[in-house]
């Protein structure tokens, strides 16, 4: 079976190369057929890997190193991409898949452009497949086959982590087709409305899963690591945040290209960068230059190859850009106080924010080159990234009402007064009765400002309330995304500033208190699972008339000789009561269990906000019927 897959992958390599050559020669029909064929063949290769995992064929080295017969079926399947080789196979199939879907659905009436875009996608797939087959092959056998597998890293045996990598890769690799469109557009010297309409759809197709993938990863870290937080500024998280920020900038800049023929060169550059940052993310994570939980295969040779790939793609695309960009048309005239000006400011801020993340992520490497081991943590990002982004979010509700070309700004004083009043109110509340920190008050005001500002803009565009649901889908998409950011800001600020945490060391029958909740340890018992056994604690939590039980546990996976923490979370409506079980401690001759207990207020609002952003991107992706005339301001 796996040999068949191996052969299919070679066939896919050949087809992708053919797709590249035929595409660049402009054979639109042929290249489309090849793209679909390549996808069929690659699916076969990928299925053969999954088949090996499902049947626990330990003569396949990848399965022996990453699976185990006792593992639940879902995680046998998910195990196929829970490792370096398998995840690269996923990367390949997604690259080829985007090519095939694009071959079927692209409609620009420009066959040469489409053929070239598919051709470049074919070349990107060729590179990925060559890397898969020659540097990290999942198809190799071992002789003799071991009787049992080593098992998946137990931290990854989790539902959120089963779908997190495919989502993230749909995002990362989705930008490969945006890259291909940009390269094809630059080759033609046409980055215009028709190009932008196509590129916007594919940017959304990458942005939506990327957003959801990042949220899933964050939620996993929240409940699986037992640290109570949801974002740790880990290099891996940063690696996914950077393409997200560039992708967000791209979505805003593309609108100018689509509606006004403007920003052509800049949009093309962002389209290229979005994919380059995705590869940079893969390089940072996979090469092992930065440590993280995800660095499962630390191999300098692979890192070097990825770096070569990054430099080749980057050199090609940026060279093309330098050659063609000066010839691109400038679009219609505009002044700084206009929607173009506002979107330009948005882009500059998002890019600068991405650069501060890049600096914080790479700084430890730079410092190490100078012989000093240091690390960069949350305080750095709170001082740079957060205020920079806050800057653009404050302006958002005001400037999104600005018209194209030249905005009428008579109304803006009213807006400014409203905003200032809101901040003043919250700061007063903060200093006075509610006693919240000034930063948190400011964050809350900002979040509400965004939510209501976005809804107000929706109402303004509808003119009469009855027409709100007749507005074009992209206006809704924009509004929901901005409301989502507002909800996220409120959730993030409340959670970060209002989090209670405490450590309790309890003997059986003891009671401890966290954030008004009284927790009693009833017992600690042994639990047995399919491929693990656990110590499970039973805590009764009481607050006033509310009562619930929490069952945090600590699992041991004998196959991997590794424990994991399984937190218990009770949703109270205003936040999460969260408990993690620690180790057994012997205190003054008495056996006690130690617990880390948190109360995380409004954390669901934070995730709801991010989910809303992902949903908004999907909504924007849905094809609009051509009959509706966009009501442009």
């Amino acid at each position: 079976m796996i040999e068949l897959g191996h052969f299919a992958a070679f066939l896919a390599l050949g087809l992708s190369l053919a797709q590249g050559i035929m595409g660049l020669r402009g054979e639109r029909r042929l290249v489309g057929l090849i793209a679909v064929a390549a996808f069929g063949v690659m699916s076969l290769a990928f299925l053969s890997i999954i088949h090996a995992f499902v049947t626990s064929d330990f003569s396949v080295a990848l399965v022996a190193n990453n699976s185990h017969t006792l593992k639940p079926m879902v995680y046998k399947i998910a195990g196929a991409w829970g490792n370096h080789e398998g995840s690269m196979a996923l990367w390949c199939i997604v690259t080829i898949g985007f090519g095939a879907v694009a071959a079927a659905f692209m409609k620009t009436d420009r066959p040469l452009f489409e053929a070239r875009a598919l051709g470049i996608q074919g070349l990107l797939a060729t590179g990925a497949l060559a890397y898969l087959l020659f540097a990290s092959s999942p198809f190799l056998r071992i002789d003799p086959a071991p009787f049992q597998g080593v098992g998946l890293n137990p931290l990854l045996q989790d539902p959120a982590l089963a779908i997190h990598p495919p989502m993230l890769y749909l995002g990362y690799v989705g930008y490969s087709f945006v890259f291909a469109l940009a390269a094809a557009g630059l080759l033609e010297g046409r980055i215009d409305r028709v190009w932008a309409r196509e590129a916007r759809i594919w940017s959304l197709a990458a942005f939506a899963p990327l957003t959801i993938g990042i949220a899933l990863g964050s939620y996993w870290a929240y409940y699986e690591l037992g640290w109570g937080g949801w974002w740790f500024w880990d290099p891996v998280e940063n690696a996914s945040l950077m393409p997200w920020l560039i992708g967000a900038a791209l979505l805003h800049s593309i609108t100018v290209t689509e509606k006004r023929d403007g920003f052509a060169a800049w949009t093309a550059l962002l389209a290229v960068l979005s994919f380059l940052f995705s590869i940079l993310g893969a390089f940072l994570v996979r090469s092992g230059v930065l440590t993280s939980v995800h660095a499962f295969a630390v191999d300098p040779e692979r890192g070097t190859l990825l770096l070569i790939g990054l430099l080749t793609y980057g050199g090609f695309a940026l060279g093309l850009f330098a050659w063609r960009a000066p010839k691109l048309e400038g679009g219609r005239p505009w002044t700084l106080i206009s929607r173009e000006g506002a979107l330009m400011a948005n882009n500059i801020v998002l890019i600068v924010a991405a650069l501060t993340v890049l600096l914080g992520t790479l700084f430890p490497l730079i410092a190490e080159a100078f012989g000093r081991t240091i690390s960069v943590g949350e305080p750095y990002f709170n001082l740079t990234f957060v205020p920079i982004l806050a800057l653009i979010l404050i302006l958002l509700p005001i400037v999104q009402a600005w018209a194209w070309g030249k905005a009428d700004v008579k109304g803006w004083l009213r807006w400014a007064a409203g905003g200032a009043g809101l901040v003043a109110l919250f700061v007063l509340l903060g200093v006075g009765p509610m006693n919240i920190p000034v930063g948190a008050a400011f964050g809350l005001a900002l979040g509400l400002w965004l939510v209501f500002g976005s809804l107000w803009e929706l109402k303004r565009r509808a003119i009469t309330p009855g027409r709100v649901f007749k507005l074009p889908r992209r206006v809704w998409s924009m509004t929901l995304a901005h409301v989502g950011i507002g909800l996220f800001v409120i959730g993030a600020v409340v959670e970060t500033t209002g989090r209670y945490e405490s450590t309790l060391a309890l003997a059986q029958g003891d009671t401890g208190t966290v954030a008004g909740w009284e927790l009693t340890l009833d017992e600690v018992r042994s639990i047995e699972g399919p491929n693990w056994y656990a110590d499970g604690a039973l805590l009764t939590a009481r607050k006033g008339s509310q009562m619930t039980t929490l069952e945090p546990s600590k699992r041991y996976y004998p196959a991997a000789r590794m424990p994991t923490t399984e937190t218990a979370i009770h949703k109270t409506g205003t936040g999460d009561l969260y408990a993690a079980l620690g180790e057994q401690r012997n205190v003054d001759g008495q056996t006690r269990w130690v617990f880390r207990v948190y109360f995380n207020p409004m954390i669901d609002l934070l995730y709801a906000g991010v989910a809303l952003i992902g949903f908004a991107a999907l909504l924007g992706l849905w094809p609009t019927s051509r009959k509706v005339k966009p009501a442009e301001a």
């Binding site: 505009w334 500059i348 600068v352 650069l355 000093r372 081991t373 750095y380 620690g582 130690v594 880390r596």
Partner: protein, 141 residues
């Protein structure tokens, strides 16, 4: 507005923002990049400013782990291949792979008395993963 003037403004605004971000980043890095100390480096370079966040790392000296605060706070000594030691105090749950004799990296700050209070502990994760800072130590013996 003429295209040239507009470009000038655009670049002006971008340059200003990049400059502001650079200044922010410079100070943020100067204040918040966490230096890494092993007992040996600490003895060599001297104590950092009390309250400043740093990382310390080494091995947990066997037999030094004790509990206070009714069991909520743990205290242990970190050693390396030098005669110096660092005493670390941590309130919370120990990481899954925390053991006496094993490698540990703690993030936190030194008090005026020279005792280190950790905000976060990381232990050797599994056979393949361990805090980056400990790799040179391992190689050294």
């Amino acid at each position: 507005m003429r295209a040239r003037t507009r470009r000038l403004y655009t670049f002006g605004i971008a340059a200003l923002l990049v400059l502001a971000a650079s200044i922010l980043a410079f100070f943020a890095l100067r204040e918040n990049a966490n230096l890494f100390y092993t007992p040996e480096i600490l003895a060599e370079k001297g104590m950092p400013k009390p309250g400043r966040e740093v990382k310390v790392g080494g091995w947990v000296e066997p037999g030094t782990l004790s509990y206070t605060d009714g069991g909520a706070t743990m205290q242990f000594t970190v050693i390396d291949n030098s005669p110096s030691t660092i005493t670390v105090k941590f309130t919370g749950v120990a990481p899954d792979l925390f053991r006496e004799g094993q490698g540990v990296v703690a993030t936190g700050s030194f008090g005026p008395d020279g005792q280190f209070t950790a905000r976060q502990l990381l232990a050797k994760h599994d056979e393949n993963y361990q805090p980056r800072e400990l790799k040179p130590l391992e190689a050294g013996g």
